[in-house]
């Protein structure tokens, strides 16, 4: 029973301490499959330079619109560039966009959500009203508005998608802070006389990590989709950069000459997004066993 436990014992029972990082990554079929897909794309991105058989930017108009063959696995595009090499290099931009966007969102949302959730009061009220207003804009619309202001290129698209995710993330952080605040170990820390900011950093934040990690994985997926969408619209990465969204955009004008131009880059986006989604879902199951059916 709770009365029999000392406050120190309650503190030792924090759920996130039970399992190591490796244990979580390999927790179930979902996390394993997701991690494998993500790892594959990370490796492709890192070693694109040595894996790619051709220069992704090399134009050779005599080789335009080649169908997939052994020498050009995905065929060539309207400029005769090797699509396989371009898709490999695209992994870099996609992963970087997802991670940078979510890092920006986290860097702003965690302090906002933590202080709002833990201290409440006027600050919480004010912040939540501003977030309500920002949530009246669909994420992609907010990102489009930001790109309109700062100008269309890959870096700005990353920033725009990150900033556009701040409202949702802040509300999420606040929500899980509110839940963790009710836990016995937070009360125990308070009973031991720890200060508010120390409790929020040492006890509340680490216990929100589970939610944050799950959400980060899922939001990386969304960020990749949104940023690819921006590039597809011409508001993100600009040609000739081999970014997948921009490549699909170029391909859509040549559906009668080459299906490969739009099919393969899109397939790559789908696979990498699938990886982050499966990983996030699996992690969620592993961290909340009671939710599993």
């Amino acid at each position: 029973m709770a009365q029999a436990l000392t406050a120190e014992a309650v503190l030792q029972r924090r759920p996130w301490r039970r399992r190591g990082v490796a244990g979580l990554v390999l927790a179930n079929a979902g996390t394993r499959a997701g991690a494998a897909i993500i790892l594959a794309f990370v490796l492709i991105g890192l070693f694109a330079g040595s894996l790619a058989p051709y220069d992704p930017m090399a134009i050779d108009l005599t080789r335009a619109f080649r169908p997939p063959t052994w020498s050009h696995l995905f065929g060539t595009d309207n400029f005769g560039r090797d699509l396989f090499s371009r898709v490999l290099f695209g992994a870099r931009y996609s992963l970087l966009t997802g991670c940078v966007a979510v890092a920006i969102a986290l860097a702003v949302s965690v302090p906002l959500g933590l202080t709002a959730g833990y201290y409440g009061g006027a600050w919480d009220f004010l912040l939540m009203r501003v977030i309500d207003i920002l949530l009246s804009f669909p994420t992609i619309l907010l990102a489009i508005a930001i790109v309109t202001i700062v100008g269309p290129n890959l870096q700005n698209a990353m920033i725009a998608v990150g900033v556009a995710s701040i409202p949702l993330f802040s509300r999420l952080v606040r929500g899980s802070v509110l839940a963790v605040k009710q836990q016995a170990y937070v009360e125990a820390a308070r009973a031991l006389g720890e200060r508010g900011w120390r409790i929020s950093l040492r006890h509340v934040l680490p216990n929100c990590l589970a939610v944050l990690v799950v959400q980060s994985s899922l939001r990386i997926a969304t960020a990749i989709l949104t940023a690819a969408g921006l590039s597809f619209l011409g508001l993100g990465a600009q040609p000739p950069l081999p970014e997948w969204g921009a490549m699909v955009n170029q391909g859509k004008d040549f559906l009668h000459q080459s299906l490969a131009m739009s099919v393969f880059p899109g397939l790559a986006i789908m696979l990498v997004v699938l990886g982050f989604n499966i990983f996030g879902d699996g992690l969620n199951d592993a961290l909340n066993p009671q939710l599993r059916e």
């Binding site: 009203r129 804009f137 669909p138 690819a228 597809f232």
Partner: protein, 308 residues
């Protein structure tokens, strides 16, 4: 109904500051874009005289808060300004396109309900079978598929290969089908997953065991008792999704050259028609807020357990 009326009032009061905040953001957009606001509103080709007129009309030589009040006053009279590209009032430009987008979003919601809920129910009732796993895998892929790419795949199959449907344009049902299916795919997948999850949760509860114990058949339990309760989270998602579809149609409309506000927004950005960009963003956000308001009210009216 007294409590409901009070809730209605509180909810309406809450919408006002949100709308004001949205208008402030739309107003701020023109001022955040680098460059002289008067020139941004008048367009690159404007004469000095036009620019002076714009400055006077929008009060651009006066302090920002006065400019905002002038902007609000114009909004209250339904004046969103004039499009640089066409020279016509923006509201007139937006209205027909908004109706097209509304049509597209409604079609997508219909498809979502018609396909997503049955899929979820089917998966939940055949839990842990190949059918369940297959439909959930399909749903996972549906969530991961870039909507603009799916649109192109549909174009390849139905317009280029089979030549059953036009690859783009705006018109009757023939032009609506491919964009609507494209736009719906993501929400169908989400609704199927959500319906399955909440149905499985409900099926594990005590009142279902009671229903089984008194000898009801499985379909009677599923459709008579479980589904009604399981659909509540699905309905919440749908109401949120509808607003999202209104704005999220940007990509779908662009792929299919469908003349809606989303495509209009993107075209206006490239044309540097900033008054239109401002107007479209304002309209989308406002309709999002209003749809959510109506959904909230319907929801609390339909489900008496929601506290006002």
């Amino acid at each position: 109904m007294g409590r409901f009326r009070r809730y209605l009032l509180a909810r309406l009061l809450f919408v006002l500051p949100t709308l004001l905040g949205v208008s402030l953001l739309a107003f701020g957009l023109i001022h955040l874009i680098p460059g002289d606001p008067a020139r941004l509103i008048a367009g690159d080709d404007a004469t000095d005289e036009t620019i002076r007129d714009i400055q006077a009309a929008y009060g651009l030589d006066r302090p920002l808060h006065i400019q905002y009040l002038i902007y609000l006053g114009n909004l209250a009279r339904g004046q969103l300004g004039v499009s640089i590209r066409s020279g016509r009032p923006i509201l007139e430009e937006i209205a027909p396109r908004f109706l097209n987008t509304l049509q597209l979003a409604l079609a997508a919601i219909l498809l979502t309900v018609a396909a997503g809920i049955p899929l979820g129910v089917l998966a939940a009732s055949r839990r842990r079978t190949a059918l369940d796993r297959l439909s959930m895998l399909a749903a996972l892929c549906g969530i991961a598929t870039p909507v603009f790419w799916l649109g192109i795949l549909f174009q390849i199959v139905f317009a280029v290969w089979l030549q059953w449907l036009p690859s783009g344009g705006t018109g009757g049902l023939r032009y609506l089908l491919l964009p609507a299916f494209t736009l719906a795919a993501f929400s169908v997948a989400n609704v199927a997953r959500l319906t399955r999850a909440s149905l499985l949760e409900i099926l594990g509860q005590d009142f279902i065991r009671t229903a089984r114990a008194k000898g009801l058949t499985e379909p009677a339990i599923l459709f008579g008792h479980a589904l009604r309760n399981a659909l509540i989270p699905t309905l919440t998602f749908l109401s949120l999704q509808f607003g999202f579809l209104l704005g999220g149609a940007v990509l779908t409309e662009t792929v299919f050259s469908y003349s809606g506000i989303g495509r209009y927004l993107v075209q206006s950005i490239f044309f540097r028609d900033y008054p239109v960009v401002q107007g479209v963003i304002l309209i989308i956000a406002c309709s999002y807020i209003l749809v959510n308001l109506v959904a909230d009210l319907l929801y609390s009216w339909a489900d008496p357990r929601i506290s006002y």
